[in-house]
Amino acid sequence: MDMSSKRKIRVLVAKPGLDGHDRGAKVVARALRDAGMEVIYTGLHQTPEQVAEAALQEDVDVVGLSILSGAHMTLVPRIKELLNERQLGAVPLLVGGIIPEEDALALKQSGCADRVFTPGDPLESIVSYIRDRCI
């Protein structure tokens, strides 16, 4: 069997901003890998430009941001803008982290985030959301 001809879902998992915890991001990355996806993991302290550029070069199907610093209301719109500039506006942008409900709503309504996950959400919900979006 020629497995090399198989299409794979590619996901960028990025940690923009200054907070120094990537445990959550790594747990998500592992869950996605175990679901058969290819996860491009870029490590801590990414600038919005670095996130957008990695999304472009890696041609990912989904961009996932992990933000615990509280700076989501500036980081997410900025990253969305930079993705748009690169003709990547159609790539689903997911945000995970400690995001208050009203912020989550605002990010979704402004079209910056396609979906916001908070610590209470099961990993499986992230996996299945990405699967559904990538069929």
Binding site: K8, D34, V39, R86
Partner: protein
């Protein structure tokens, strides 16, 4: 094809999209590669291989600095294995390549081996071709040196750099595994750790035993986290390239590569063609049943299957 024209025009997104199409074995793949082929052959390919965690990505990051400083554009292909069980992968090489994440002269692509048994997949070689056609002067290919990929990288790279570390006596082990034959340059990375001199001496001793060839692989100590030894490594790469060019070896190895690729392509076409024909004529299921019951044997059955095919006269 629109994307091909865009790639040739320097569009990074088109390059990224085309790599994906090629990697996924898209029906358009051959057409893409065929139309870009006349634009390839200019890039110089450098393979970086070594044990997991030996510091390959950190070395690539530092090398990028040297290469960009010399005014050269660079493509990077960072290959990591997919899990044989789930098919998924975490591709983490970019973590250590952040210094050049925004440099327009650098294009970094991570890829999984996707079941090519630890070897360099065909997709990796095809990605190199796309980066070449895109106009990158140099292409760095990072692969984990376990088993087959070590051998494969030599077939693909013009210069192969093998990264060893002083830790855990892995130099001795890798020497046993026959890595000697593939290295054009040895790096003893993590030279800030104890045992570096011993490791370098071991490698040199092994090289002394090997009496052939007019190129003796240099052994370069480096501390990639601090950028030490990187100038010497870049120097060695350039010297090796010069040696290959002046001796005519470069032309030779590139012809060998083309010969292998041509053979492989023919075999691939034959295989695809044969299975297409056999599939439409009958199912294998009933044959398998009979063979399992030992009423038939796979040897004569295979010949019989092939006998049904009328091979087209080219």
């Amino acid at each position: 094809m629109q994307l091909v024209t865009e790639l040739l025009g320097g569009n990074r997104r088109a390059l990224a999209r085309l790599i994906t199409l090629v990697e996924n074995g898209d029906p358009l793949k051959n057409e893409i590669l065929q139309s870009l082929y006349p634009h390839t052959g200019k890039a110089y390919v450098i393979g970086i291989t070594g044990a997991p965690g030996s510091g390959k990505s950190s070395l690539v990051d530092r090398l990028l600095q040297e290469m960009r400083g010399a005014g050269l554009t660079v493509g990077v292909v960072a290959v990591d294995p997919n899990s044989p069980f789930t098919g998924g992968a975490i591709l983490g090489d970019r973590i250590r390549m952040q210094d050049h994440a925004l440099d327009r002269g650098v294009f970094i692509r991570s890829m999984g081996t996707r079941g090519s048994l630890g070897g360099l997949s065909r997709a990796t070689r095809e990605t190199i071709q796309l980066l070449d056609a895109f106009g990158k002067d140099l292409i760095l290919v990072e692969t984990v040196g376990v088993g087959q990929s070590e051998v494969d990288i030599v077939k693909t790279a013009d210069t192969t750099v093998v990264v060893l570390t002083p830790a855990g006596g892995d130099s001795v082990q890798t020497l046993k595994a026959g890595i000697m034959e593939i290295a054009d340059i040895f790096v003893i990375n993590k030279a800030d750790l104890p045992g570096t001199e011993r490791a370098a001496a071991e490698v040199s001793a092994m090289l002394d035993l090997k009496s052939c060839c007019d190129w003796r692989p240099p052994v370069v100590p480096a501390v990639s986290t601090r950028g030490e030894g990187i100038g010497a490594l870049w120097q060695s790469v350039q010297e090796h390239r010069e040696y290959l060019e002046k001796s005519g070896r470069l032309l030779e190895i590139r012809k060998e590569r083309i010969s292998r690729e041509l053979t492989e392509q023919v075999e691939h076409l034959v295989k695809t063609m044969v299975w297409e024909k056999i599939k439409v004529r009958m199912t294998l299921g009933s044959l398998v049943e009979e063979i399992a019951l030992r009423r038939r044997d796979p040897y004569s059955a295979a010949r019989e299957l092939l006998a049904q095919i009328e091979f087209p006269v080219p």
